[in-house]
C-alpha cells in the first residue's frame, strides 16, 4: 500500500507543478524545495539541475521516488546523462528548442529506462487497472509519470462522448428516417418563411415610423428585379439575358474602325510583348539562380 501513498503524493506534486508554471514566485520556492531534496539524494546532480532551472522536475522526482538500490540507480543515472548529452548536442543545433524540449527529453528518457527496468511492475499495474475502474484515470496519470508506462485509453465501449462509439451514435442520429427529416425540413421552411415575412414587416414598419409610406406601383411592366438585392427574378431567365448580352456585342463599332483604335491596338500589343519579354527575362534570372540549366 506504500505504493499507493506514493502515488497520491506524486499526484499532488504534479498539481503543484502545474500551478508553478503559472505563478513564478511559487515556482522558485518549489525549486528550492526540490533542490534540498535532491541534495539528500543526489548531490552530484545538483549543479546541473540548477543550470537547467528547474525545468526537469520529473527527472528529480523519479530519482527521489524510485526505490531501487543505489547501484542500479547510479547506472541509470549514467545512462541518462549520456542520453542527455546527446540530446543537448542536438539541441544546440536548433536553437529554437528551449526549456520545454529539455524537460521533455528527460521525461522521455525516464520512460525509456523505466520501461526496461520495470516491465514486471507494469504488468502488475495492468491488473490494478482492471480492478479499480473508478480512479483509473488518476492511476493512469500518476502511473505514467511514475513508471513511464504507456497511458491506456480507457472505457473504449462505454464512453459515448469520444471515439468510435461517438461516431456510430452520430451516424445513427443523423439518419432518423425519411419521415422525421421531412418533418424537420417542413418546420424549417415554415419558420424560415415566417422569419422572412417578419423581416419584411419590420422593414415596412420602420419605414412607416420614419414617416414614410411604401408606395406600391403595380401598373405597367411586370416586376423583374428583387427590390432588395437587385437580382432579376421571375420571368427573366439568366440564360436568356446572357444570350441577349452576347447578341449585343457585335453591334459596337468595329475595333479597327478609327485610326486611333488601330494605333492603340498596336501600342498595346507592343506593350504586351515587351512585358512578356521582361517577364521572361526575370524568369530566366530566377532559373539561373536555381541552376536550372544543368541537364544532368
Amino acid at each position: 500500500m506504500g505504493n499507493l501513498k506514493e502515488k497520491v503524493d506524486k499526484k499532488q506534486q504534479k498539481k503543484s507543478k502545474k500551478a508553478n508554471n503559472r505563478k513564478f514566485s511559487e515556482k522558485d520556492a518549489m525549486i528550492k524545495k526540490e533542490d534540498e531534496r535532491n541534495k539528500v539524494n543526489n548531490p552530484a546532480e545538483k549543479k546541473k539541475r540548477k543550470r537547467e532551472k528547474g525545468n526537469n522536475f520529473d527527472g528529480g522526482d523519479v530519482t527521489r521516488i524510485s526505490r531501487e538500490d543505489d547501484r542500479t540507480k547510479a547506472e541509470r543515472e549514467k545512462k541518462r546523462n549520456k542520453l542527455r548529452k546527446k540530446k543537448q548536442r542536438s539541441e544546440e543545433q536548433n536553437n529554437a528548442l528551449v526549456g520545454k524540449y529539455d524537460q521533455l527529453s528527460t521525461e522521455s528518457e525516464d520512460g525509456f529506462n523505466e520501461q526496461k527496468c520495470k516491465s514486471k511492475k507494469s504488468k502488475k499495474k495492468k491488473k490494478e487497472h482492471d480492478t479499480s475502474k473508478e480512479d483509473e484515470n488518476i492511476l493512469e496519470k500518476s502511473g505514467e509519470t511514475d513508471h513511464g508506462e504507456a497511458y491506456c485509453i480507457s472505457s473504449v465501449d462505454e464512453d459515448c462522448s469520444k471515439g468510435m462509439k461517438k461516431w456510430l451514435t452520430d451516424y445513427n442520429q443523423s439518419r432518423p428516417g425519411l419521415k422525421v427529416l421531412q418533418q424537420r425540413l417542413d418546420e424549417f421552411i415554415i419558420s424560415h418563411e415566417e422569419k422572412l415575412e417578419q423581416e419584411r414587416k419590420e422593414r415596412e414598419d420602420q419605414a412607416a415610423e420614419g414617416g414614410w409610406t411604401v408606395v406600391k406601383h403595380h401598373k405597367g411592366r411586370k416586376k423583374t428585379t428583387d427590390s432588395e438585392s437587385g437580382i432579376p427574378v421571375g420571368s427573366v431567365a439568366p440564360a436568356a439575358v446572357e444570350n441577349q448580352m452576347t447578341k449585343k456585342k457585335p453591334k459596337e463599332v468595329g475595333l479597327e474602325f478609327y485610326r486611333f483604335q488601330k494605333r492603340e491596338a498596336q501600342r498595346s500589343e507592343i506593350m504586351a510583348l515587351r512585358s512578356k519579354f521582361e517577364e521572361d527575362r526575370k524568369r530566366i534570372q530566377q532559373l539561373r539562380a536555381a541552376r536550372k540549366f544543368r541537364p544532368y
Partner: protein, 1051 residues
C-alpha cells in the same frame, strides 16, 4: 554571346545551357590536360624498345577472340596526339574526357595481321604493356579498361590523373590506339572474308563488320583531322554540336553503341557543312534544328552519305548498293574506305529518326516548355517505353557457343536475335522494339577473357502501337492452305499455334491468349515470356518484365475491383432512367450526371455490389464476408427551371433536400428501392450500389458569379458552384478516359501512391486526375504512355521535376485554349506569385493547375498543397521515381523492392497514431500493417466492439429490413477521427491515407503560436498531454500513439 542582345527566351536558355555544359579551356584545365598527356608520354618512353611481348600478357583475351601469332617486339608508338572532342573544344560536361590517339607502329605488325583477329589481339597486348607501365607511375590515380563503343575486341585505356581540378570532377584521358596505314585498305573491302572461322559449308562469308572494325582504327586520325578543319573557328557550329550532344545524351535509346555518339554527330554536322546545308551565319539553335530535320526527314539516308563532294566520289554504284545491303545506315568517310556508321542497327536508326521528329514537334507544340522538353528531360528506357523486358544472362553460355567474335560479336548477335524474336512474336502489337545490351561495364578486367562480360542485364523496350492491338486476344496467322507460311508459323509458336475457323469462314493458324478483361495488360507479358522461353535457352526467372509489379496495390482481395465497373454503369443507367420517369414531384428531373470517379474508371477502389443494397436483396450467407459499410457514389441531378426557388443559400439547400427526399420516397414507392437520408445527403440503393443524389441549382450558380464579379476579394464558393465544377471536371475526364483507356489505371496508381504516403489531405483526387491528364494531352517529348507503370513513372517525374514555383500547369484537355486564354491564365498566375519576392512561402496556390473550367486554379489546389506540403510531396515523388527507375534497370536488394514504392517511412513525423487495422471500414485495402520501433509509446487502446468492418454471423439473423438498417452508408471512422482532431488540436497537422492506411502521421504546426507571446506558448499544454488527448479522441479506433519529436517553438 551577350545575353541582352538575344530576343527569344529559347535562345536565352540555350546560351545559358551552353555556358553550363561547355568546358572552359582555362589555363588550369589546359595545364591539367597537358600534364597528364606528357606524363603518359613519359611513362611510355620508359618502356624499353624491342621488349618481346607475347600473347601470354592477355592469354584469356587472345584465346577468346581466336587469334594466333601474337608475338611482337615492342616499339614506341609512332605518334601521340590529342584528338576527339577536346581538340575541337566541344567537350560536354558531366563526363569530361580527352581522347589520346596512340599510333601503333608498323614494325609491330605483319602485313597479314588483319586476318583472324590478329590485329585486335596485338592491339590489346600493346595496350597491356602500356597499362603495366602506367600503373607503376604515381602521377595517375588509376588506370582502367574500357572499350570503344562497347566493342569488346577493341579495348581502350582510361587514365585518371592524380592531380584533380574541382571544375572537372572525374576527368580522365582515354587512350585509343590507331592504325594509320597499317594494312592495305583494299584487303579490308566489305566483300572479303578475313575471319576464316566464319564459313558456311566451306565457303567463306564476307566479314564487313570485322573489316570495318579495323578500318575504323586506320581512318580515325584522318577523320579527326577532317573534323578539326571543319570546326576550326566555327563557334556556332561547335555550340550546335554541344547542343546535339546534350540532346542525344538525354535520350538513352539513341545514345548507345548501336546508335549515335559524339563522334558521329560531329560527322553528320560536318557533312551538312560540306553540302552547305549549314553555314556560318546561322545561330546554334538553327543549326540544331536543321540537323534534326535532316536526320528525321532526309531522303539521302536511303542512298548513303558521302563526306566528300559528289564530284570526287570514286565509289562504284554496285559497291554502294552492296553497302546499303550490309548496313542500314551508310556514311562514307572522306577516304571512302569505310562506312563510319557500321555499328548502327536498324532499330537504332529508326529510333533516332523518331526521336528527331518528336523533338521537331516540341519546337512547334511545346510552347514555353520546349527548352525543357528538348534538353532538360531525361528520356531513359523506363520512361520512354511502355513495357520493359530485362534478361539476366549471367552464366548463360548459349550466346557464345559459336565463338565470342566472328564478323560480329556474340553479344550484338544476341541483341539482334532477341529483337527479331520479339518483333515476330508481338507483330503489330508493338510500334517499336529496342534491344540494348550495354554488356561491358567500365573497369572490368579484359585480360582474363570475355566470358565475364555478361554480368549486365540485357534491356528491351517495347512501345505499343495501340491498346486495341496490344490487348487483342486472338492473333490470326497465315491461311491453312498456305502450307509454307503455316509451317513457319507452327515452328515459331509450337504448341501455342492452333488451327481455327473464323466467323468469316476462313480457316487459319492462330494463337489465342485468353484473358480476363482486367488482366489484358498481361497478354503482352505472356507472349514475350512464351516466345523467349521457346526460342532461347533461358529460365523463366531470368526474364523480368515490368508490367504488373504494382497491380497488387489496386487489388481488392484477389481481383481488381475494376471488373465491376460495367455493372456499375448499368446500374447508373437504370437509375437515371428511373429518375427521369418520376412524376410525383413538382419539377421533373431534366438531367442526371455522374460525379464519382468510379464512373470514369479513375477510382482506386470502385465499389463492389453489396448483397444488401439491391432490390432483390437476400440475406447473405454467413460464410461469405459481408462488408458492413457501403461507399455511396455521387450523382448530380438537374431539375426543370422554375421561378419559385428561394433566394438565399440556406433556403436553397433546404429546398434541395426536400426535393431529394421526395425523389427518394418516390423511388421507394414505385420501384421498391431503399432510400436512406441525413439532413444533407440522400442515398438510394440500386443493384448493390448506393447512389448519393445531389441537385445542381443553376440559379445558385449565377448568383455566385455575380457576387464574385462585384467583389473579387470575397471568394464565395457555394455548394452549387462546387457541384458545377465537379460536373465539368467529371465530364472532361470521362471524355479523356474514352480516348486513352490506360488513363484510368495510371490515375489509380497515382492516387494510391499519393494516399499511401499519407498525402490524402494535401492533394485532392481531382488534382491528381489533372496531373495525369497532362501526361496524356501533352506527352512531348514522349508519346502518350500506353502502360500503367510508364504512366505512373512519368507522373512521379512530373511531380518531382515540374517547376511549380514559376510555372502554371495548363491542362488543356479539349484544346480549348487560344492565346488570349493563355495570357489570361499567365496573368492570373503572376498575380499568385506576386508575394514570392518577399517570401518564398508566400505563394498560394503552390501548385497552379489551370483548366478550361477553372482558369485561376481555384477548384482543387487553392488551399492545399501549400508550399511546405508540396515540397514534401516533391521529395517523396523524386525518391519514388528514382527507385522505380532503378527497379526497371536492375534487380534491387531485398529491402528495396516494388512494394517499397507504397510503403511510407513513419519516422518522418513528429508523432504517429497507429490504428486498429481491423476497425478500418475496408481492412482489405490496407497494404502493409504499420509497425513502429522508434519513439516513445504515449498511449494505447483496445479496439471497440461496437464496430466491425464485416457483418458477424450473428448479425445476419433477423429480418432483411433490420439488416439493411445495419448497413452503414459512407461511414468512415478515419474521416470522423480526423474531423474530431481538427476541431480539437489546432497545434497538430494530420497526414493520413484515406484509402485505407492504418497510420496517421502528426506534425506540430509551425505557425501555431502566431503572434502570441512566448510565455503563452510555453504555457501551452505539454505535448505528451496533447497526444494523450489525441488518443482519447480516437477511443476504440486508436491502437497506439507514439511520440517521436518535440514541437519546435517558433517566434
Amino acid at each position: 554571346m551577350d545575353a541582352d542582345t538575344l530576343t527569344e527566351p529559347m535562345d536565352f536558355k540555350v546560351s545559358e545551357l551552353i555556358n553550363e555544359v561547355q568546358i572552359e579551356h582555362s589555363p588550369s584545365f589546359t595545364k591539367l590536360v597537358n600534364d597528364t598527356v606528357s606524363s603518359i608520354q613519359n611513362s611510355i618512353d620508359k618502356i624499353p624498345n624491342n621488349l618481346v611481348v607475347t600473347g601470354e600478357e592477355a592469354a584469356g583475351f587472345v584465346r577468346d577472340i581466336g587469334a594466333d601469332k601474337v608475338e611482337f617486339k615492342f616499339k614506341k608508338p609512332k605518334s601521340i596526339a590529342i584528338g576527339g572532342s577536346y581538340s575541337i573544344k566541344c567537350v560536354v560536361k558531366p563526363d569530361v574526357s580527352v581522347d589520346l590517339f596512340i599510333q601503333l607502329p608498323k614494325e609491330c605488325f605483319h602485313e597479314k595481321d588483319y586476318l583472324n583477329h590478329r590485329y585486335h589481339a596485338k592491339r590489346f597486348v600493346y595496350l597491356c604493356v602500356i597499362n603495366k607501365f602506367l600503373k607503376s607511375d604515381s602521377s595517375f590515380e588509376k588506370v582502367e579498361w574500357s572499350t570503344l563503343q562497347n566493342e569488346a575486341r577493341k579495348p581502350v585505356l582510361l587514365v585518371y590523373p592524380a592531380g584533380k581540378l574541382p571544375e572537372v570532377p572525374g576527368f580522365f584521358v582515354r587512350i585509343i590506339p590507331t592504325a594509320k596505314s597499317l594494312f592495305n585498305a583494299a584487303k579490308l573491302d566489305l566483300k572479303r572474308n578475313n575471319v576464316r572461322a566464319l564459313n558456311q559449308g566451306g565457303t567463306a562469308l564476307p566479314t564487313p563488320r570485322y573489316n570495318s572494325s579495323i578500318l575504323e582504327d586506320m581512318c580515325l586520325e584522318d577523320n579527326t583531322e577532317f573534323l578539326k578543319k571543319t570546326f576550326f573557328g566555327q563557334k556556332a557550329l561547335g555550340e550546335a554540336l554541344v547542343l546535339l550532344k546534350v540532346w542525344a545524351r538525354q535520350r538513352d535509346s539513341i545514345h548507345s553503341h548501336d546508335g549515335l555518339n559524339g563522334y558521329l554527330i560531329a560527322i553528320i554536322l560536318s557533312y551538312l557543312v560540306a553540302y552547305e546545308k549549314v553555314n556560318s551565319s546561322m545561330r546554334p539553335l538553327q543549326i540544331f534544328r536543321v540537323t534534326l530535320d535532316f536526320i528525321a526527314n532526309s531522303k539521302l539516308w536511303t542512298r548513303g552519305l558521302f563526306l566528300q563532294k559528289q564530284g570526287e566520289v570514286k565509289i562504284l554504284k554496285e559497291d554502294r548498293m552492296l553497302y546499303k545491303e550490309s548496313f542500314p545506315v551508310v556514311i562514307f568517310d572522306s577516304t571512302t574506305h569505310i562506312n563510319l556508321t557500321f555499328r548502327i542497327k536498324d532499330s537504332g536508326f529508326s529510333e533516332l529518326q523518331d526521336e528527331a521528329a518528336l523533338t521537331l514537334q516540341c519546337f512547334g507544340k511545346s510552347g514555353d516548355s520546349a527548352f525543357e522538353d528538348i534538353f532538360m528531360t531525361k528520356i531513359d528506357i523506363p520512361a520512354k517505353y511502355d513495357y520493359c523486358v530485362r534478361l539476366s544472362l549471367k552464366g548463360n553460355n548459349e550466346f557464345y557457343s559459336s565463338g565470342y567474335c566472328l564478323d560480329e560479336e556474340c553479344w550484338r548477335l544476341y541483341e539482334k536475335k532477341v529483337q527479331s524474336l520479339l518483333s515476330q512474336g508481338l507483330s503489330d502489337r508493338a510500334k517499336s522494339i529496342r534491344v540494348i545490351w550495354r554488356n561491358i561495364p567500365s573497369g572490368c578486367s579484359l585480360e582474363n577473357g570475355l566470358s565475364t562480360l555478361d554480368g549486365e542485364p540485357l534491356l528491351a523496350g517495347i512501345s505499343l502501337s495501340s491498346l486495341d492491338k496490344a490487348f487483342r486476344v486472338v492473333d490470326i496467322g497465315p491461311d491453312a492452305e498456305n502450307k509454307e507460311e503455316a509451317a513457319r508459323f507452327r515452328k515459331f509458336w509450337g504448341e501455342k499455334a492452333e488451327l481455327r475457323r473464323f466467323k468469316d469462314g476462313k480457316i487459319a493458324e492462330s494463337t489465342v491468349w485468353e484473358s480476363e478483361q482486367w488482366m489484358k495488360h498481361l497478354i503482352l507479358k505472356r507472349i514475350v515470356e512464351y516466345t523467349l522461353l521457346r526460342h532461347l535457352s533461358i529460365s523463366k526467372t531470368s526474364i523480368e518484365q515490368t508490367v504488373d509489379q504494382l497491380d497488387f496495390s489496386l487489388l481488392h482481395g484477389v481481383e481488381d475491383p475494376m471488373s465491376f465497373s460495367s455493372s456499375l454503369l448499368g446500374a447508373f443507367d437504370v437509375l437515371s432512367k428511373r429518375l427521369r420517369l418520376i412524376e410525383d414531384i413538382p419539377l421533373k428531373v431534366s438531367s442526371v450526371q455522374p460525379l464519382d470517379p468510379a464512373f470514369r474508371f479513375t477510382s482506386v477502389f470502385p465499389p463492389e455490389p453489396h448483397a444488401l443494397a439491391s432490390e432483390k436483396a437476400s440475406i447473405p450467407r454467413p460464410h461469405k464476408l459481408t462488408s458492413s459499410c457501403i461507399q455511396p457514389l455521387e450523382v448530380m441531378i438537374q431539375l426543370e427551371g422554375s421561378g419559385n426557388w428561394p433566394m438565399d443559400d440556406v433556403a436553397i439547400e433546404k429546398t434541395k433536400s426536400a426535393f431529394l427526399l421526395k425523389i427518394g420516397e418516390s423511388l421507394e414507392n414505385s420501384w421498391g428501392m431503399t432510400c436512406t437520408a441525413t439532413e444533407d445527403d440522400v442515398d438510394v440503393f440500386l443493384s448493390g450500389y448506393a447512389f448519393r443524389l445531389k441537385i445542381l441549382h443553376e440559379r445558385g450558380l449565377s448568383l455566385v458569379k455575380r457576387e464574385t464579379g462585384s467583389d473579387q476579394g470575397k471568394q464565395v464558393s457555394s455548394a452549387d458552384q462546387k457541384l458545377f465544377v465537379r460536373s465539368q471536371h467529371s465530364s472532361m475526364i470521362n471524355g479523356l478516359q474514352g480516348v486513352f483507356p490506360i488513363y484510368g489505371p495510371v490515375v489509380r496508381l497515382a492516387k494510391r501512391w499519393v494516399a499511401s504516403h499519407m498525402f490524402s489531405a494535401c492533394l485532392s483526387e481531382e488534382a491528381i486526375e489533372l496531373l495525369v491528364a497532362h501526361l496524356f494531352v501533352k506527352p512531348l517529348p514522349f508519346t502518350a504512355p500506353c502502360s500503367r507503370i510508364t504512366g505512373f513513372l512519368r507522373f512521379l517525374r512530373l511531380l518531382a521535376e515540374y517547376d511549380w514555383t514559376f510555372s502554371p500547369l495548363i491542362v488543356d484537355i479539349n484544346n480549348d485554349f487560344n492565346p488570349s486564354d493563355k495570357k489570361e491564365i499567365y496573368d492570373k498566375f503572376m498575380l499568385t506569385r506576386k508575394g514570392y519576392e518577399e517570401s518564398s512561402q508566400n505563394i498560394s496556390p503552390a501548385m497552379f493547375l489551370a483548366t478550361s473550367y477553372d482558369k485561376a486554379s481555384e477548384a482543387w489546389t487553392r488551399l492545399s498543397p501549400n508550399v511546405l506540403e508540396l515540397r514534401r510531396l516533391v521529395a517523396y515523388a523524386r525518391s519514388s521515381a528514382n527507385l522505380l527507375t532503378r527497379l526497371v534497370f536492375q534487380d534491387q536488394t531485398e529491402s528495396y523492392r516494388w512494394e517499397c514504392l507504397f510503403r511510407t517511412p513513419l519516422t518522418n513525423y513528429d508523432a504517429v497514431i497507429l490504428l486498429h487495422g481491423d476497425r478500418l471500414p475496408y481492412p482489405q485495402r490496407l497494404l502493409f500493417p504499420s509497425k513502429l520501433n522508434h519513439g516513445r509509446l504515449v498511449a494505447r487502446g483496445n479496439a471497440s466492439k461496437a464496430f466491425q468492418p464485416f457483418m458477424l454471423p450473428g448479425d445476419l439473423r433477423g429480418s432483411l429490413d433490420k439488416l439493411k438498417n445495419k448497413l452503414l452508408v459512407d461511414f468512415d471512422p478515419l474521416r470522423c477521427y480526423i474531423a474530431d482532431l481538427e476541431k480539437e488540436c489546432s497545434t497538430l497537422k494530420m497526414w493520413y491515407d484515406s484509402l485505407g492506411g492504418d497510420a496517421i502521421g502528426l506534425t506540430w504546426e509551425r505557425s501555431c503560436s502566431k503572434k502570441r507571446d512566448r510565455e503563452e506558448a510555453s504555457d501551452d499544454e505539454d505535448p505528451i498531454d496533447v497526444l494523450k488527448a489525441v488518443g482519447e479522441a480516437g477511443k476504440g479506433f486508436v491502437k497506439s500513439v507514439h511520440f517521436l519529436k518535440a514541437p519546435r517553438l517558433m517566434n
